[in-house]
């Protein structure tokens, strides 16, 4: 009964006759899934299903435990909202040739994610994992007639495949060490091998989660996918990678502190570098994608902290680190989806993703602008929204390493708090830039058609997400029991008896947050009353004496971020495309700044290009000359005789 979650969500696959039917089934499936999740939490015993399976190895092992359940919340809500969103965003009538395909793979994606978090057998896991990866590919690359979509899709496919191969290796090693494919109970694996398994897990899952430098597929794929697919990929699918890391590290009984350091360092680098890249993007969805990498970095830092805590027997670090990471996973799923939905609404209103073509949309799309603001404030981790609530836990965990009892090397982890602070400041810059250049000021593309707020079926999901973001920001203590259960499962010995409430006064966030909101609301009313009868005149913006400011004179997004890009130019390596004329009578001049992705465009692609130049040189061996082919046969024969050492014996 409690399992209805998994199977029920398979329903949407079967319906492709009508989009509405698909969405209806999807919602039904998700609802059933949610019910299943709740039931499984109420009655833990019933949520286990172990069936023999048609393979000589492994079983059909499906278990919903608190950790899976935590991810299920996200899996059953965000994709469902996305499917409602797609009703207007990807109207079947406007995309006759691919809306069915998209619906199918979108449903498959959601269903397989649900299976990923409850599958507890290596083979089953790999199967649903790959279904998830592939359906995400097909959903994201649905507009395959556009070359850039194909390119981005291909990079994603390669990245996810190499990730899967690493996971295959990881599970093979797991089998070697545990003599079982089951992923049910924690196992004691010799530390050296456990370390290899962990590193393989970080690599394999890191590709999916988008940890730097394994993120290379992420910006392109997110930018080029339909927005609700981007939302699900960024909001939910990336988290599957983190789920994998959490799950595998939870199944290994013994661990060393360097595991935690590894994640802490990787997370810090991901966070910092990705947000700096996000800041420097011109493409709205690329910027959002980089910001996802940043948030994944933050979550990885939380997980790393929890690992450190486990290794050094500090339950409060485990609870705060993993609890914060999980909470942030949930929160990021909410507000990042909201932001991608917003981006979709902007695109839907006939705009491109190019920030330099936007501006002033807030006047025509007030609802979208307001919702974007909620998402932006949340993602900058500003109080009183949910982003702060979760980062707060991670921060506190990091500061807890400083307790007087901690040895200096553990206390060094506190340094990560500084990284987090810097990430926060950069995220603020990024989202001020995004919000400002998109919605504020005046339009930079005067010729573009007037934008408008989207239809209700797009607005409702966004409202739900915004509401959830505010709600969780104000009442984070509601989530605490779920977090505690999940963490206790992960580190049963350490975190028992310890509660989040004992560590963190989450209620204060409620007080302060509602305080802020009440004061703002009150002040706004008061202002309204007060201003009645006061002279409010309208005029043009004061531009320091210049009488006729135009939209073209506005600060652009690129110029807004330029000082920071220059500050970090040692790492970002910005490039410039110049076409400046130096003639006596200057003609049309152009200059464009861009920041390439260091890993993809400066490392991986050049290596691939070099290889593709080199490899055809080998092709001369397949030259078409029959008699030389016969010679190959003779030569390999002789070679085998010689190398197997029996040539002399005959």
């Amino acid at each position: 009964m409690a399992l209805s979650g998994g199977p029920a969500s398979w329903l949407p696959l079967k319906a492709s006759t009508g989009q509405r039917l698909t969405v209806g089934l999807f919602l039904g499936g998700s609802l059933l899934g949610l019910v299943g999740t709740v039931l499984s939490l109420l009655d833990p015993g019933a949520a286990t299903l172990l069936l023999p399976w048609g393979f000589p190895w492994g079983r059909f092992a499906v278990v919903i435990d608190p950790l899976s359940a935590f991810f299920l919340w996200l899996i059953f809500t965000v994709p469902a909202l996305g499917s409602v969103y797609s009703l207007s965003y990807w109207r079947a009538a406007e995309h006759p040739d691919n809306s069915q395909r998209l619906g199918f793979f979108y449903g498959l994606l959601a269903a397989s994610m649900g299976m990923v978090v409850i599958a507890r057998d290596s083979i089953l896991f790999l199967i649903v994992w790959e279904i998830m990866a592939l359906s995400a590919y097909f959903a994201a690359a649905v507009e395959d007639d556009r070359p850039e979509v194909r390119q981005a899709g291909w990079i994603y496919l390669v990245a996810t495949h190499i990730g899967t191969l690493i996971l295959i290796a990881m599970f093979a090693l797991w089998y070697r060490e545990t003599a079982s494919f089951a992923l049910l109970t924690p196992v004691a694996v010799p530390l050296s091998r456990a370390g290899i398994i962990f590193v393989l897990a970080v690599l394999g899952f890191g590709f999916k989660a988008g940890l730097m430098p394994l993120h290379l597929w992420l910006p392109g794929a997110h930018a080029n996918a339909p927005s609700h697919v981007s939302a699900v990929m960024s909001g939910v699918m990336l988290k599957m990678g983190l789920y994998g890391i959490i799950r595998v590290s939870g199944l290994l009984l013994q661990l060393e502190s360097w595991w935690g350091w590894l994640l802490l360092v990787v997370g810090s680098i991901s966070g910092l570098y990705a947000i700096a890249l996000a800041l420097s993007q011109r493409d709205l969805k690329r910027a959002l994608a980089y910001s996802s990498i940043e948030n994944v970095g933050i979550m990885a830092m939380g997980i790393g902290l929890a690992l450190l805590g486990r290794a050094s027997n500090r339950p409060e670090l485990v609870l705060l680190g993993l609890g914060g990471a999980l909470f942030h996973i949930l929160n990021h799923g909410l507000f990042k989806s909201l932001l991608f939905f917003n981006a979709g609404a902007i695109i839907h209103a006939g705009r491109t993703r190019d920030l330099e073509q936007m501006g002033g949309l807030g006047k025509n799309m007030p609802v979208t602008a307001g919702l974007f603001l909620v998402g932006a404030v949340a993602i900058c981790a500003l109080p009183p929204l949910n982003g702060f609530a979760s980062e707060w836990l991670i921060y506190l965990g990091l500061f807890k390493t400083l307790a007087a009892a901690s040895p200096a090397n553990l206390a060094l982890a506190g340094g990560a708090a500084v990284v987090l602070a810097m990430i926060g400041a950069l995220a603020l810059a990024t989202f001020v830039k995004l919000y400002g250049t998109i919605f504020l000021g005046s339009s930079r593309a005067p010729a573009a058609p007037p934008a408008h707020d989207p239809e209700a079926s797009m607005k409702i999901p966004m409202f739900c997400l915004a509401f959830a973001s505010i709600f969780l920001g104000l009442l984070p203590s509601l989530i605490a029991p779920l977090l505690e259960k999940a963490v206790r499962l992960w580190a049963p010995l350490l975190a028992s008896g310890l509660t989040l409430a004992a560590l963190v006064p989450q209620l204060w966030l409620t007080y302060v947050g509602s305080g802020i909101i009440i004061i703002i609301a009150g002040w706004a009313c008061w202002q309204k009353i007060l201003r009645q009868g006061k002279a409010v005149s309208r005029g043009v913006t004061w531009d320091c004496g210049y009488a006729k400011p135009t939209a073209k004179m506005q600060y652009t997004g690129t110029s807004l971020s330029q000082p920071l890009v220059r500050l970090f130019s040692f790492a970002l390596r910005p490039g410039t495309l110049k076409n400046l004329t130096n003639l006596p009578f200057p003609g049309k001049s152009e200059m464009q700044n861009f920041v390439p992705d260091a890993v993809l465009e400066r490392l991986v692609l050049p290596v691939f290009q070099r290889c593709s130049r080199f490899i055809p040189k080998v092709y001369i061996f397949q030259h078409g000359q029959t008699h030389l082919y016969v010679l190959y046969v003779l030569l390999i024969c002789i070679a085998l005789f010689v190398f197997s050492g029996i040539g002399g014996g005959l």
């Binding site: 092709y619 397949q622 030259h623 078409g624 008699h627 016969v630 003779l634 002399g648 005959l650």
Partner: protein, 213 residues
């Protein structure tokens, strides 16, 4: 008896070198045919008591290798009206020298080993291996499709020769099957030869290199 067998071996080896050194295709065909006949005769000398099956198989081998296949080849040769004769990758003399060196090397290696048991058959193994290798040399250094087929025939001869060591292991059916396969393959190959000639106006296999990579 032993002397006779050894003499045949020597002739077979010499024919190898002739095949390598000959510049006319027709003479290579004849050399290979002669080698085939000698191979066919060998079992009659080796085995003291002649059974019916031995006679039958050797008769089949002789007729196929000595007469049927050569006639097919000669007919194919006439059909294609080859102007220029054997075209080796490098000169005939170097080929012959390599052939001689290979012969010497094989005998040297086999002489050292303990493989050689029975006295009367002592030379079968090195001889057959040599013939196989000479077949390979013909295959890899000749550029005309027809001469490559001849190389393949020499190769087959070498293998056939080895099988004389184990007559009782190979029943008549299998032996006949092998000869049938040989016949069919030569038959098909000559058809293809014909097509090659008609399509490419030459038997030079260097023309057959549009499929690569």
């Amino acid at each position: 008896m032993n002397e006779l067998i050894n003499a045949i071996f020597v002739i077979i080896l010499a024919l190898n070198l002739f095949a390598l050194g000959s510049s006319r295709i027709i003479s290579v065909i004849r050399i290979v045919a002669l080698q085939g006949v000698l191979m066919g005769l060998l079992p009659l000398f080796i085995h003291s008591h002649l059974t019916f099956t031995a006679i039958l198989s050797s008769a089949a081998a002789i007729s196929l290798k000595g007469f049927v296949i050569p006639s097919i080849m000669i007919k194919a040769l006439r059909d294609v009206q080859i102007k220029r004769e054997v075209e080796p990758l490098f000169g005939l003399l170097p080929c012959t020298i390599i052939g001689a060196l290979v012969t010497a090397a094989v005998f040297l290696i086999c002489g050292r080993g303990n493989a050689v048991g029975q006295s009367e058959l002592s030379l079968i193994i090195p001889t057959s291996i040599t013939v196989v290798l000479i077949g390979f040399i013909l295959l890899t250094t000749r550029l005309k499709s027809l001469t490559q087929v001849l190389g393949y025939l020499v190769l087959e001869n070498g293998i056939y020769m080895f099988s004389l060591l184990l007559l009782e292991a190979i029943p008549l059916v299998v032996e006949m099957g092998m000869l049938l396969d040989l016949f069919v393959s030569i038959f098909i190959v000559s058809i293809i030869n014909n097509k090659i000639n008609r399509t490419f106006a030459s038997l030079d296999t260097r023309n057959l290199s549009s499929l690569k990579e």
